[in-house]
Assembly symmetry: C2
Homo-oligomer: 214 residues x 2
Amino acid sequence: MNDGFDSPDLLSVDPLNKSVGYYASLRVIGQFCDSYILCQDEQNLLLIDQHAAHERIGFETLRGQYRDHGVERQGLLFPLILDFDHREVATLKEHQAELQHFGFELECFGGNSFVLKGIPQMLGDAEAEKLIRDVVAELISFGSSSLVEERIEQLLVLMACHRVIRANQQLSRSEIDYLLRDLDQVDFSGHCPHGRPVVQRLSLVEIERMFKRT
Amino acid sequence: MNDGFDSPDLLSVDPLNKSVGYYASLRVIGQFCDSYILCQDEQNLLLIDQHAAHERIGFETLRGQYRDHGVERQGLLFPLILDFDHREVATLKEHQAELQHFGFELECFGGNSFVLKGIPQMLGDAEAEKLIRDVVAELISFGSSSLVEERIEQLLVLMACHRVIRANQQLSRSEIDYLLRDLDQVDFSGHCPHGRPVVQRLSLVEIERMFKRT
């Protein structure tokens, strides 16, 4: 009897929001395997991969910020002093300006040490050290060439992965509603380095065929 | 926000029922297009055609009663006087004993008139006149031979169709729970003249494949 939807969440209702997007307008049926959100479109059963959706939203948001004025940053309450090896240090120094544009505030601290003072605001819950180390590893894998469009996107994807709703996570009704609203902000038509689909549709016609109704 | 599951229905909780069957043990996710019940099995998304399920339950119940001691009957509060044509009258007279075993109480009223005094208890909500007329039409279509097994089942199917949850009907949580419990009583392994499937499974593996997770 625990379907997680027993109590409607008033926080998720916004009577002032008159222009409801496609995803926000869907009728939420529920969650499958704590990983997929089932919704109803007019004549379709929609399965939304909550992990892929959240990742896509994160990526698009980061990309938008990156293009506009650089990824928004937040200071760490407790700056981290981190040691790197020689190769990493070279990469960090080479890409210092880019790293700032990606939302990192990183300063030399003498020798092979750096102080990480800020990380992308969106990734506030991420483990800052793991995040910067992953980013540096990615930068190294790119080689010394400048960051071209595709590589920028790869880096943004990697960053988006750090703030993601995992599969196998039960979502409250308001978390589902927020996710659907956020999906309305995402430009699905644009090129996206993530190949994984976010939404799959099973039409009523297909379902009726499964049941030999047609 | 109207998903029909806002208020848990206490009536559907039976703490004393320790032997919960397979269907009753499913986690109900919700309803799609007011026609399909979506449930979660361990690793499967189950789609249950509520119309087909209800029909199958009705058929199996009627068949069980028919085999045991004849279909259970209930008296009509207002008996119906019905006129039939000559062919129908002949059929009604020929099959009077069978009709009683099928749960009908029908008496000659002189000429071509009959009084319908009782109908199958399970079909209490059915339109009694339409029901008996359909049954007579079916009997006529069989010809004058005695009712063999297959024809009996056809007639029970026809009767079961008269007490069915239609597709496009929103079900309350307790109605869903009752339907699932009733499904546990049905012998799905047995031969059934209804060809339409009641349940379809979409495994987590298949869904993951749809989302290119595997």
